[in-house]
């Protein structure tokens, strides 16, 4: 079976991540963000995306990676899962590729510090690139965050 999957590729640090293209609504440049008090630390606030108010989260913060300054390359990837719209702040996003479904392996036990449950798998591309496929439902799962926060806090 040579089923192909279109994937948006974005970077966090040196790692490359992928989200299926049908989950991604648009990719935006950085824009003014209104801080929302009393919420998770990785929630940077809300933006006005063409008249719709959408929360944005820093994906580095979400994965407990060190947060960095935003640059010209920083992008907000707007994803939609079910009827939930969320923007991900990522270091850069500039590629759309086709990968074969059978090129995705199930996630290894430990991958670069990111908790394995956020991963749907790892895709091996040509020239030995590795693409980490995100499990959006887990990334957007709030109940787990609440637990995490209460343990850490």
């Amino acid at each position: 079976m040579e089923e192909e999957l279109k994937v948006i590729v974005f970077k966090l640090g040196s790692e490359e991540y992928g989200i299926e293209v049908d989950k991604v609504q648009t990719i935006e440049r950085m824009m003014p963000i209104t801080r929302v008090p009393k919420t998770f630390s990785f929630v940077k606030g809300v933006i006005n995306l063409r008249g719709v108010v959408i929360p944005v989260i820093d994906l580095r913060g979400r994965f407990s990676l060190p947060e960095t300054e935003y640059t010209d390359q920083t992008r907000i990837v707007i994803v939609g899962v079910d009827d939930m719209q969320v923007g991900f702040i990522v270091d850069s996003a500039n590629d759309v590729i086709d990968i074969k479904r059978d090129a995705i392996d199930s996630p290894p036990e430990v991958v670069g510090g990111v908790k394995a449950r956020y991963l749907r798998g790892v895709a091996k591309l040509e020239d030995a690139r590795l693409l980490i496929m995100l499990n959006l439902n887990e990334v957007l799962n709030k109940s787990e965050v609440v637990q995490l926060e209460s343990i850490e806090g």
Partner: protein, 691 residues
């Protein structure tokens, strides 16, 4: 065939039909002899049945079919409407409503209606004993006379004539319904239905109304413009059961003229003894002794006919939301353009932008109006509710609705139903006295409950007024003191209206214990809090012995509110104007520490002082460093609090936006809005600041 795409249409239309059935049934209950209403009910039920069957909802179709059978007996004067029949039919409507509700929620519209069906069948077969014997069937001797050509008026003739000239197919159709047919009207209806799918009936004999009411013998004829072949059509009509014969003749200009001439000639002769009505419905060949029936038919059918074609379309509310969003973007661009134009000082540009502003302001009004819905959509379920309630309580109640056309934003309409139900129930249950009490008090047996809606300024008022016993101050106060809502001293000082407001106090919501005295108090605190959460208000006025008036004040819309914009450092927040008492400036030394809480004196009372920058952790402002601080005094019910901010920006109309489902609900924030510069500002929820 995939029916899913029709499902929402089916649900909408079913609800419409159910509503009209309910309304007409109520009307019929008022004048049970009016067969015109029965006709309307029958037609609605019939359409509903057809739709349900097409969509494959068998239970729905079969129940409507049973109702139809009963209604058919009634309209043919073989059965008289009576209480039992009304009750059964109302029960059937309830069952239908439940089924449609089930379908709406993704079910299959199945329900156990066996007892209702049994009752309907008992009525239909006459086994039901409570009733009088069926009225003797009025059977006209069947005539086999086939009417020949139909007379046309000048206009109809020229329509047909021109259609032929333009190459359309004009047909003359004659249909004979089988002698055994039980439901001639339905068969005829099916023929018309078939014909209207692929063309237009220009003229029929007898008139459509008469045919629908079965005021014809076995045959009817009509002129018809279509694209279909005569033969094909004939086959189509014959495929309807209980049609004995169908004659379809294609006409050219010559035959058309011949036919009409001939018809006119016969009509003149036939119509001579009786002055023929202008409507050209005179009968060319069969006897004209049925003329007296005409007025009955037109009287009832005509007004309904005029009311049906409403020039509206259904629009998904989400599309309107998208339109609103796009529109608010346009407004943001507009303000940018205005700014740019004033900076560049180019006259042509300024003129164009000024025009753009005017157009977009008009557009904004229209967009907002699109979301306005008449309160009728909520009110229309009340007559039925009051009827049932009055029946259960054994009271006589007349519900008078006025101002049902008053419009409110969709967002408010969706929320207002439940509180109104509460208030109406209250009026019927506790306000209006029992029949015996009314008679004893010298009032008419029939109690009146007025339900009024009207606009006033930026608000809509909905009033519920009964002519019942009213509220007795002393009784009410005694209970309030007993329940610990107020002390005796406090109560003595209160004005009558203030005492009445006690009904909305939370401690009053335990119904049964207090219903023996003044009566009211069934969850009225819930009503009050719901209405307050909508930005509205509710007041009571009552005259003991004369009745009580509940007046609900509501904002026109929830999606746009007036707000005060405030700034704290680089952040802007919107405070709903409805909860602001006033704004002021306080000096640092006016803020006192009382038992660890900051308080200030405001108008001779001590109110809590809240630092918004602390509550929200604003990074670049803290009022603790200020010598003078701006405060917004907010209100929740009777209680006040002062919220410290850095600066007031000004008052503005803001469009409420949801923050989506991802963020958890945040205490103190009720939503977001987009400001003129495109920035998002959060809206404070003042209720959260006063505990």
């Amino acid at each position: 065939m995939d029916m899913n795409q029709y499902l929402s249409m089916f649900i909408d239309e079913s609800n419409d039909h159910l509503q009209s059935l309910n309304e007409n049934m109520l009307q019929l209950e008022g004048s049970p002899e009016d067969l015109g209403i029965v006709q309307v009910i029958f037609r609605s039920a019939h359409t509903l049945k057809g739709m349900a069957a097409t969509m494959g909802f068998e239970d729905l179709a079969s129940l409507t079919h049973k109702m139809e059978n009963v209604l058919d007996l009634v309209r043919n004067e073989k059965l008289k409407m009576q209480d039992f029949i009304f009750d059964t039919l109302f029960k059937s409507l309830d069952a239908l409503e439940t089924m449609v509700q089930d379908i709406t929620e993704g079910g299959e519209g199945k329900a156990d209606v066996s007892s209702i069906v049994a009752s309907l069948q008992a009525i239909e077969s006459g086994e039901w004993t409570g009733g009088t014997a069926p009225v003797a069937a009025v059977n006209q001797s069947p005539s086999t006379a086939t009417p020949s050509a139909v007379e046309l008026d000048e206009f109809q003739y020229s329509v047909l004539d021109q259609s032929i000239a333009e190459g359309h197919r004009v047909l003359y159709v004659e249909v004979l319904v089988s002698e055994q047919s039980q439901l001639k009207g339905v068969r005829a209806y099916m023929v018309f239905d078939l014909l209207e799918r692929s063309g237009e009936v220009v003229k029929s004999f007898p008139t459509v109304q008469d045919i629908e009411q079965e005021k014809f013998e076995r045959s009817f004829s009509l002129y018809y413009i279509t694209t279909k072949e005569a033969q094909e059509l004939e086959k189509g009509i014959m495929s309807i059961s209980e049609i004995e014969s169908a004659k379809v003749i294609q006409l050219d200009q010559e035959t058309l003229q011949q036919m009409t001439n001939q018809a006119a000639a016969t009509a003149e002769v036939e119509a001579a003894p009786v002055p023929a009505p202008v409507e050209a419905s005179s009968e060319p060949s069969s006897s004209s002794k049925e003329e007296p029936k005409k007025p009955v038919a037109t009287k009832t059918a005509a007004p309904k006919q005029a009311a049906t074609p409403s020039r509206t379309i259904r629009v998904d509310i989400e599309r309107l939301d998208v339109l609103m969003n796009l529109f608010s973007e346009l407004l943001i661009d507009r303000s940018r353009l205005e700014q740019l134009a004033s900076e560049t000082g180019n006259n042509d540009l300024s003129d164009t932008v000024a025009h753009l502003s005017r157009v977009s302001t008009d557009l904004q009004n229209i967009v907002l109006k699109l979301r306005m819905v008449p309160v009728d959509t909520v009110f229309n379920r009340f007559p039925r509710m009051i009827r049932d309630l009055a029946k259960t309580l054994d009271k006589k109640i007349d519900l008078v609705i006025t101002g049902a056309e008053t419009e409110l934003d969709r967002t408010v309409i969706d929320e207002i139903g439940d509180p109104l139900v509460h208030l109406l129930r209250n009026a019927v249950d506790h306000g209006v006295e029992s029949i015996a009490e009314r008679v004893a008090a010298g009032k008419p047996e029939l109690g009146t409950v007025n339900l009024r809606a009207f606009h006033s300024g930026n608000h809509v008022f909905i009033e519920i007024e009964d002519d019942g016993k009213g509220i007795y101050r002393d009784n009410l106060l005694r209970t309030a003191v007993k329940r610990g809502v107020v002390t005796e001293e406090q109560g003595a000082k209160m004005s009558d209206d203030e005492v009445n407001q006690l009904l909305f106090a939370p401690g009053f919501s335990t119904a049964d214990k207090i219903s023996d005295i003044s009566g009211r108090g069934v969850g009225l605190d819930v009503v009050k809090s719901k209405i307050t959460s909508l930005g509205g208000n509710v007041t009571i006025h009552s005259t003991p012995g004369k009745g009580t008036n509940f007046s609900v004040q509501l904002p026109l819309t929830l999606s746009i509110i007036a707000a005060m914009l405030v700034r704290l450092g680089s952040e802007k927040y919107a405070v709903p104007l409805s909860s602001i008492v006033e704004t002021a400036i306080v000096q640092r030394e006016q803020v006192r520490n009382i038992h660890g809480n900051k308080m200030i004196t405001f108008r001779e009372s001590l109110i809590p002082y809240l630092s918004l920058s602390e509550v929200f952790g604003v990074p670049d402002f803290n009022d603790a460093n200020e010598q003078e601080t701006e405060i917004v005094v907010i209100r929740k019910g009777e209680r006040l609090a002062a919220v410290a901010v850095e600066e007031f920006i000004g008052q503005s109309e803001i469009v409420l936006k949801s923050m989506g489902t991802y963020l958890p609900s945040i205490e103190g924030i009720s939503g977001a809005t987009i400001l003129g510069d495109g920035q998002v500002a959060l809206i404070l929820d003042p209720n959260a600041f006063i505990k």
